[in-house]
Amino acid sequence: MKEVRYELAVVGGGPAGMEAAITAAEAGVSTVLIDRYPQPGGQYYKELPAEFSARHRTKVEAEGDMLIRLLGGVEITRYFGTLVWGIFPKEGEKGWLIALTGNESPRLITADSVILATGAYDLPMPFPGWTLPGVISAGAALILVKTQRILPGKRVLVTGSGPLLLSVAAHLIEGGAEVVEICEASRPFWKAIPYIPFILGQTNRIEEGFKYLSTILRAKAPYRIGWSVVEARGNGKVEEAVIARLDNRLNPVPSSRRTVKVDTIISGYGLVPNNYLSRMMGCKHSYVGEKGGIIPERDETMQTSLPSVYVVGDAGGIGGAELARLEGRVAGVAVASRLGRLGHSTAQWEYGKLRSLLRRQQRFAEMLGKVFVRGSDLFNLSTDETTICRCEEITRREIRAAIEMGARSVTEVKMLTRTGMGNCQGRMCEHSVRNAVMAFTGQSYLDIDKGGAYSIRPPLEPMTVEELAKAAQELNFSE
């Protein structure tokens, strides 16, 4: 096999990955950028498909366009529409073998350093009826509306926690949907008070927020604070939703339940870092609830416990696009400096420039983490009948039974019930199973290295047996 070798592979072409690739390539590092979508931008910039065209661009889109233009001006190999199904250490030497599946990519490439910028996805929030067609994530709704200009439904309930709800609701309203209710699960907005002077400095974000709010107010869509969906109902698809007020411990108050006729429920209870690659590679991780759950441990240059592996953006802890861009630049500088393309003093000067900007964005992320509820706090939205593992169709009752039989960890529940063994490989149920184990065993913390998280194994993407066999030959897998 002819070896395709790069100094740096960046996985993920969103704000963090683009910045990392540009920064490193500009310093002369031979760089490859890989993304699952046909075009760069990721879930934040949400670029239109190449076949679509627009005369006007929104502010965020224009910002994305600019970054993509910068990317185009630097020599970077791009594999787009390409999935990474595994990254393996090179036997007996430094570097990583990156296994790809896609139409135009080679099957394997080699890189000395890896920057993972794999982003995040919506926290899957189980509640009765959440598997009905018509319950979709906030991310899915935004993809449909922004990149495809398609409405997911006519009468919509938007439920969850965080500023993203406002964006989703405003886009749906402008697209022509009726937003029947917006339920924000968090009530203690007073937690934001200490941050007010800081928030006032974030003029871009205030402007964006006001734009969304004015659209919502004009449409007279009710914004209920301290409420959540508690049930989805319908015959084969969503026909109505039950919403309820949450008490101070975030339990639904039965007497407040009311039913609304909707055809779509949009669920946005925060984001989960997409960290399956760094976990599979063996980087050290820990559980940090305010940052979205399981995150890689990193130093100030975004380096993980493995010296040639970096994680940037939401994959390293939820922090938003601005923070992601800065982290991408930091890691790009770090890789260039490792390879001797940037002198020590130049690198230090670059870090210095980025540090205060980073701190501001970290503070913003910290505020969001404190003010809005975390999905893990809303475990009581599910009941024993609720499906927790969507792939293997395992209910909360079955998980409870496994725990009564003696299971004390996420991995033990998996062995007894098959949770996390389906197509999604546990991405949908891991946090819920973790919550169930903690709730039903009374443990307040589960060590992720002692069965508190699933073990992640390749392939991370679906592939044919033929494809896998060919790759295994090239990889010299002995088992």
């Binding site: 076949e51 679509f52 067609p133 398609i150 697209g175 659209t215 169709e393």
Partner: protein
């Protein structure tokens, strides 16, 4: 349905070339650049598959290739994620009735 009007958050776009695909034998209109999932949603398809164990309907959930709920059979290939697959003219899409292994 497709959004046709132009607003400040959603400025008007020109879609790709019009194509036709079939979903469960029914011809539906789609535009190049759309994903199979989006084209199906635009034509009112909500159910993408029926589960093996409990025979429950499922539709698109995460929209970004993570959840595997939108698996359909495309041009004879089973278990393809509709949310990551762009439409092509003449494509045949079949929703899946899954059977227990």
């Amino acid at each position: 349905m497709r959004i046709e009007k132009s607003t400040s958050l959603l400025p008007e776009v020109k879609r790709g070339r019009k194509v036709q695909i079939t979903v469960d034998g029914k011809p539906i209109e789609a535009f190049e650049g759309e994903t199979v999932a989006a084209a199906m949603m635009a034509s009112g398809f909500r159910v993408f598959r029926t589960t093996a164990k409990d025979k429950m309907p499922r539709g698109m959930y995460c929209g970004m290739g993570i959840c595997f709920e939108c698996l359909v059979t495309i041009n004879g290939v089973k278990n393809v994620r509709a949310c990551l697959t762009p439409v092509t003219d003449g494509m045949t899409v079949v929703t899946q009735e899954e059977v227990a292994a």
